[in-house]
Amino acid sequence: MKKLFILLAAFAGFVSCGKNYFNINNNNPNKVTDLPPKTLMAGILNQTASIVTTDFPFLGCYQGYWTIAQGFSDITDYANYNYSTNFGQNIWTDLYGNLGNINYIEQAAASDSTLVLFGAMARVMKALHYQLLVDVYNNVPYRQASNALILYPKYDSAQSVYEDIILQIDTAIGMINSANAQSVVQPDVSSDILFGGNMVLWKQFGNTLKLRMLLHQSELSNRQPYIQARLQDIAAEGDGFLPAGQNAWVNPGYSQNNNQQNPFFAAFGFTTAGGTAANYISFKANNYAINFYTNTNDVRLGYDYSPLAGYGVTPYQYVGGPFGTIGLPSPSSASSIGAYIPASGNVPAGPRAGLLQSDAQPCPILTATESLFLQAEAAQRGWIGGDPQTLYQQAITASYEYLLVTSADSAAAAYYSQNLVNVGWTASSNKLQAIIVQKWAALNGLDLLEVWSDYRRLHYPGDIPLSNSPNVVSPTPPVRLLYPTIEFQTNLANVQAEGTINQFTSKIFWMP
């Protein structure tokens, strides 16, 4: 019997394994689990530019730039204004997804003082993201968001979110000003693909975002004292806004290689092989915009759209279709968006100007033209110093420059010197209307959400046609999106606490 036990013991010793035997799944050999927080920044900025330029194509239709071509693509729900909670869900998931990354940097900076500049950049980007969320959904989760431990985050009132993110920008500017250049990690072109580590530009960007949020509230009389107080903060801070010639855009190294394209170009233009993106076929010129540019002798017509029969076939015909008419336009009966046409036979691709320039063009988050129009409006309202006319004309010039219009400055001057209402400054009796209409003309395809916000706030341009769809469910266009389906699946109690949302009547808090 004793022998047997010895045998058993030997047996067990022979076959059993050491503790390290099991410690093979702790370190993941396939995915990195630990990295310097600053490594996230370039991705955040690239994704932000993608969200701003590609997540709102339906607004291109609502705001009179584009329409949906018929053919294989059906009449979508949004042409009937009859969209469901499924519609635009990616806006929600993209913004909150990116906020998770922003929060990671913010948290890392909170515990590591050398990351203070990255913490500041993260706060500015956070402010931008929540501004976009509020402008689309009004009340949204804010204080309990971006936390893996809070699976059912509560919603915060839109106004309190707006107020807090303005404070976040102030905090960020304070962090930048207090950072000791010797002891902190400096952002550079590899992490700060927006401003290449130029922290003054970050402060100006923050101030511009603040101004934009204040302008969104312009039509609320009870907010005027608050607005004035915040304007004084900006003036006291002193760095001002993004100036002429300074676009807030990113270019981490876009190229015509696979998976390296500018997001807007990839979404609305062409594949790396020169084939058309799905949106290039399905979105066509809207006759409202075509008529506007044509009637105002605006050469940007040929930069925002391509001629029907292509280049080289004169006279160039720019044709738009109405939005919502069943059967129109067919893909070949209306102008495409952007001037760019891919290479065909011996004809090289191009022109490399306009809305779609190339796979490698920078992707905007907030263009100089938008910043200047914001300043023009603020100056016109007397909120800030400066001459509104100068800012207005600089803004138009910046738009021409963005589109790489030939001899942009003189072409812009020729344009805004015309004696046309809403084009020439002096010819326009309603200066505010002229500013917003020109802002609309300049931001074609660049910042559709901001254009929609202006329309919801001021109803300019006032003659943007409604959807022609016979099945349209409302005589007025929607003013917001519904909370997305995924919130009803994963955060039901909190989203239901917001009550029944109606896309025509449930306003964003800043809407008059």
Partner: protein, 1152 residues
């Protein structure tokens, strides 16, 4: 009666005393009792032919201190029997029979046959009372040293042991009856432990090689289908490398693995390895149906186990077996298609009056794909656009009903086998070789599988060892884009004679530049230009070392290794258009090939997948007997290391047409590389106690340790216990009952742990950042870091919250059952009822995106599986004196499975779906209170009675945006029928299977949307009233719609486009009846065969597989058994699966 002999023999051995004084006091008691007492007292054993010696004759003896001779003489006087002693064995011969000569040695010869007169191979034949023994060869032949008058004992698993006295000729013919009482059958249970069937407290099934290979399948799995209750096999497609789903007793885990564990010769291997096993090498497959049987295999076995045992060499002369099978495959059926109407598509009626005649009727459009146009009339019409040279294809405006069938080839399979085996007392060997060459039904598809196996064993004293080695190579060349091929084929209007467009290279009308339908590429373009080629190398080996330390104590150490390497390449030819085609692209009425399939360079994807498993087991087994108790105690330890390395390289920018080397790309290739390594160990104790051979109690406990979990959770224990009671032996009144010959009831309860998470799921990870990954176009991310031109890289948080607090899932499985044999086993019934409760499931739940994440792994949710299994065997149902014999087997499974709970507050969990005509759909759900998985899809708006609600003006129904639960996706009932009739060398066998109670989602909506299905043109392409529809007249008030027609049938079927018909329109019943196998074999009579001296046996077999299927009318699509892959999201068919095929062929088997 032979059982008694056996028992007597057993009782007698071990007695050391011989001879001595005998005390026998018997009054009118059976001879049996006298012999019993003599055996006990004298230490001898009696041997006799029970057909001649009547043991129930009564005798009376009163002997004190008598010698053995005196006692035998006294018995002889009363009975007339004669006795002849040799050693301690005494032969009894009837009165007047010739006693064998005392000691004449020679060679005895004989054959062993079964009750069907079929030879049985491997029967052990022993000269009674000696150690001389041999085994029968494949013809049932044996020869053995012995003399006339010797008693030969022939025994074989599954047959009743038979003793035969050798006549003076020295030649015998022994017929063995199958043992219907199951009692003595040895079953291989977990870890290769052999147990008697009567001991088992749980349900198992054993399928023999003969049954598997009845219809000469190329894959073991096909040979098991329909033959075992509780085992559900789905052959998911019929590609060159079909995926199979093998599930025992239903699904337990929502998202984890539910497929059976595969053990080959004692070694755990990947389930996919079953596709590489030569079915002819398989000796038998044992199915351990539930966790109860499988608990000793540890966590992987909660889903049940398939144990494959390969053949070993058998004693006797070496045997060579040659087998050759040729089968032909033919497409059985396509989805139902209409042949009455030609091309027209509705969008033109609004935009283009050109294709509407003066009456406003839709006219023929020569280049249109949708078939919603005028009826065929036999006119000569244009087809497609004019080519660049002005030539226009003309055709007759008629249907080609066979065109789509004729696209497919007749496939064929050549299967050639050689095996060589033999054995002596100390060792055995078995060598086999197989080559399977297949040409598929999809043009250009072919594959070849070549494999060898060597099994050997050797024993030396108390030490013995065995080894198994197998290698196979599998080469496949198949269509790399079957979905597009099949979609474009099915999508053509009926007036296109598809095979006429075969020559894509030489015929401009078939080429990418000039194909008449501009909305889809020629299917022949895909089969010629998109190829998926791969080669699999499979090696596996196992070595067993066995040490018999004591007669009752045995130690075993087993090492098994399997290695798998797949290296594959998918190549897509470039799309290069002629200048003419490019010019013409602007004149077409919509986007044509040039726009829809833009020019692109050739592409290549290389993939390398290496998997290996190292598996070891150490077992210590102690067998003891203590009085009326028997004991079998086992202690063991296993380790398992699974490793995988998977790499892919993709380039979509190759520089030179026709040249597919990854390094020739003009842009950086896309790379993927991942390594996983998982280790588990298990320590266990297993103890069976038997009482008087009719009551057995068995218990086991196992402790697992796994590298998958965090240190504090990685060790977990689980116990199991079962009881088996053979009441026909235990209850005196039931012994020797002529009607109920065998009866056993059993019960068991077991808990098994299981870890269903991928490795490295404990820490959050980062992925390369990208932009626009969730864009609604579904085109994937617009860009991904790093940017090669600038060198900028960036990462983003991976959207899964990993959870270091995860614990194992546990299944508690209860089972009761009965095994009943009637009329000496002519009727055999096995019944089982089981109840499995799986809790603490590991589920990646979807979390609010607000958290910054998409999913989180948590332990939550319960699933219940209850079922009944019944196996009824009638062997034979009919047996006629002229040799006709008809056997029937029926197996039935009923499964009631239910999701008990999910995350608190949620009632459903999406588990995915499949790709197809409606894009990637995620229709499969776990829904609380419903079976798993459950189909939930969008449907029309319906009134409370289920009628479709239509618009009062347009007559159109509308889609209800909220998906509706439609039905369960796994069958609730399955019935398998096996039958064989044999008569004079002919055997006709068949297997049929019925499944019911489930639905299937057929993701091929364009058949309706394009007007290609019969139902979509049933209205004659005219306005129609939606059948059984209602109109809402007031909220909640509906009236039947009798006259509001759909004002634009086109809008209904197609133009409002491809998203209008709700998925519920494509759901059908999943019920079917299938004749899975039919075979007719003929054994060429021995007289003819043996003329060819060296040939022992020759058999010719006609085989057919999947010859017939019957489906309910609502299934107009495809084989409901198909599915996208072998994930849990079953019940999704689409054009990713080629149409079903039927096979028939011929086999010739020669044995030398």
């Amino acid at each position: 009666m032979p059982m008694l002999c056996l028992l007597l023999t057993l009782a007698a051995t071990g007695q050391e005393k011989k001879g001595g004084s005998l005390h026998l006091i018997l009054h009118n008691q059976p001879v049996r009792e006298a012999l019993h007492q003599i055996e006990k007292q004298a230490g001898v054993t009696f041997h006799f032919d029970k057909t001649r010696i009547d043991m129930s004759r009564t005798v009376s003896l009163e002997l004190e201190n008598a010698s053995l001779d005196e006692a035998l003489a006294a018995l002889g006087r009363q009975t007339g029997y004669q006795f002849r002693q040799r050693g301690d064995k005494i032969l009894i011969v009837g009165a007047g029979e010739v006693l064998p000569p005392a000691e004449v040695s020679g060679l005895l010869k004989g054959t062993v046959l079964d009750s069907k007169d079929q030879p049985i191979q491997g029967v052990s034949v022993v000269v009674k009372g000696t150690t001389t023994g041999t085994q029968t060869d494949v013809n049932g032949l044996f020869s053995i040293k012995g003399s006339p008058g010797d008693v030969l004992v022939a025994s074989f698993v599954g047959y009743q042991t038979r003793e035969v006295v050798v006549g003076s000729s020295g030649s015998v013919r022994i017929a063995l009856d199958e043992d219907r009482r199951v009692m003595g059958e040895v079953v291989v249970t977990a870890l290769g432990i052999q147990r008697q069937s009567k001991e088992l407290g749980y349900s198992t099934a054993k399928v023999s090689s003969q049954v598997i290979n009845q219809a000469k399948p190329t894959n073991v799995v096909e040979g098991l289908n329909g033959k075992v209750s509780g085992l559900q096999i789905n052959v998911n497609d019929n590609s060159m490398d079909p995926s199979m789903r093998i599930v025992l007793r239903g699904n337990r885990s929502f998202l984890g693995n539910n497929q059976a564990l595969l053990i080959v010769d004692g070694v755990e291997v990947d389930l996919s390895y079953i596709n590489y096993i030569n079915p002819n090498e398989v000796d038998n497959v044992t199915v351990l149906k539930g966790a109860n049987a499988a608990a000793l295999y540890g966590s992987d076995a909660s889903n049940g186990v398939l144990i494959i045992t390969t053949k070993k060499g058998l004693k006797g002369k070496p045997t060579i077996t040659l087998s050759s099978t040729y089968t032909q495959d033919k497409v059985a059926y396509l989805p139902e298609l209409q042949n009455s109407y030609g091309p027209h598509a509705g969008e033109y009626t609004q935009g283009y009056a050109l294709f509407t005649n003066y009456l406003g009727e839709r006219s023929y459009i020569p280049f249109e794909q949708q078939a919603q146009g005028p009826a065929f009339n036999g006119d000569s019409v244009l087809v497609g656009f004019p080519q660049a040279d002005g030539e226009v294809l003309r055709g007759i405006y008629k249907a080609y009903p066979d065109a789509k069938y004729n696209f497919f080839n007749k496939g064929n399979t050549w299967q050639n086998d050689v095996s060589y085996s033999g054995a002596d007392d100390r060792g055995s060997y078995y060598i086999s070789f197989q080559d399977v060459k297949t040409n598929g039904t999809v043009p250009n598809d072919n594959s070849r599988r070549t494999g060898v196996r060597f099994n050997g064993s050797r024993s030396y004293g108390i030490f013995s060892s065995s080894i198994g080695l197998a290698y196979s190579q599998f080469n496949v060349d198949e269509d790399g884009d079957l979905n597009d091929t099949y979609t474009s084929l099915l999508g053509f209007p009926p007036n296109i004679d598809v095979p006429a467009f075969k020559n894509t290279a030489t015929d401009v009308n078939a080429s990418i530049n000039g194909f008449p339908i501009p909305y889809s590429l020629n299917p022949y373009w895909y089969v010629n230009n998109v190829r998926n080629k791969f080669r699999d190398d499979n090696i596996s080996g196992n070595v067993d070392f066995n040490l018999k330390i004591r007669p009752w104590l045995n130690a075993l150490y087993r090492v098994g290794y399997s290695g798998f390497l797949r290296n594959g390449q998918v190549t897509t030819a470039d799309k290069t258009y002629s200048n003419d085609a490019i010019l013409f692209s602007n004149s077409s009425f919509s986007s044509d090939n040039y726009i829809a399939y833009p020019p692109a360079p050739n592409q290549v994807t290389n993939s390398f997948d290496f998997r290996s498993r190292l598996y070891t087991t150490a077992l210590l087994t102690a067998d003891n007997t203590l009085g009326v108790f028997t004991s079998k105690a086992i202690a063991g330890y296993t380790t398992n290391d699974s490793y995988e390395r998977y790499s892919t390289q993709y380039s979509g920018s190759l520089a030179f047409p026709g040249f597919f080397n990854i390094t020739s790309g003009t842009q950086s290739p896309t790379l993927n590389d991942s390594v996983t390594d998982v280790r588990t160990t298990g320590m266990f104790l297993d103890w069976t106690v038997g009482y008087r051979g009719w009551l057995f109690v068995h218990g086991s406990v196992r402790r697992d340790e796994s590298s998958l979990l965090a240190q504090q959770f990685r060790v977990y224990d689980y116990p199991g216990v079962d009881v088996s009671w053979v009441f026909t032996d235990a209850i005196r009144g039931l012994q020797d009952n002529k009607f109920l010959t065998y009866g056993k009831i059993r019960a068991s309860i077991t808990k098994v742990g299981n870890i269903n998470i991928p490795p490295y799921s404990l820490h959050n990870t980062f992925s390369l950042a990208n932009a626009g990954a969730s864009n609604p176009n579904g085109s994937g991310a617009y860009n991904t870091f790093p940017f090669t031109t600038s060198g900028v890289t960036s990462y983003a948080i991976n959207q899964t919250i990993y959870n270091p607090l995860l614990k194992p899932e546990f299944t508690v499985s209860k089972e009761v059952g009965a095994e009943l044999g009637f009329l000496n086993g002519r009727i055999n019934l096995q019944l089982a009822y089981f109840d499995q409760h799986t809790s603490n499931q590991t589920v990646p739940i979807q979390v609010s995106p607000v958290t910054g994440y998409a999913t989180q792994y948590i332990n939550v949710g319960e699933m219940l599986n209850q079922g009944i299994e019944a196996d009824l065997n009638l062997t034979p149902l009919i047996k006629l004196p002229n040799g006709l014999r008809w056997n029937w087997g029926v197996n039935f499974s009923y499964l009631n499975n239910k999701v008990v709970s999910l995350l608190p507050g949620t009632t459903e969990l999406n588990i995915g779906g499949a790709a197809g005509g409606k894009g990637l759909v995620s229709n499969d759900y776990a829904i609380v209170g419903k079976a798993f998985p459950y189909l939930q899809v969008q449907d029309w708006v319906r009134d409370p009675q289920g009628h479709v609600v239509v618009d009062a003006v347009t007559g159109l129904p509308s889609q209800d945006p909220n998906p509706r639960p439609v039905g369960q996706l796994s069958p609730k009932y399955r019935l398998g029928l096996n039958s064989s009739v044999s008569y004079k060398g002919f055997t006709l066998s068949g297997v049929a299977e019925f499944r019911a109670g489930n639905v299937v989602f057929n993701n091929m909506p364009y058949l309706d949307e394009f007007g290609l299905s019969p139902r979509s043109v049933a209205g004659g392409n005219q306005r129609f009233v939606y059948p059984n529809s209602v109109i809402q007249v007031a909220p909640g008030k509906y009236v039947p719609n009798t006259n509001v027609t759909i004002d634009d049938y086109f809008q209904f079927w197609g133009q409002n486009g491809f998203a209008y018909l709700p998925p519920a329109m494509f759901v059908s019943s999943g019920d079917f009846w299938k004749i899975r196998e039919l075979s007719l074999s003929y054994d060429i009579p021995p007289a003819i065969v043996q003329k060819a001296k060296i040939l022992k046996k020759a058999t010719v077999t006609l085989v057919g597989r999947n010859l017939f299927i019957w489906r309910p009318k609502d299934n107009q699509w495809t084989d409901p058994e198909f599915s996208e892959d072998n994930s849990n999201a079953v019940g999704q068919t689409s054009t990713y699966q080629a149409p079903p095929v039927k096979s028939y062929g011929l086999n010739l088997t020669l044995i030398f």
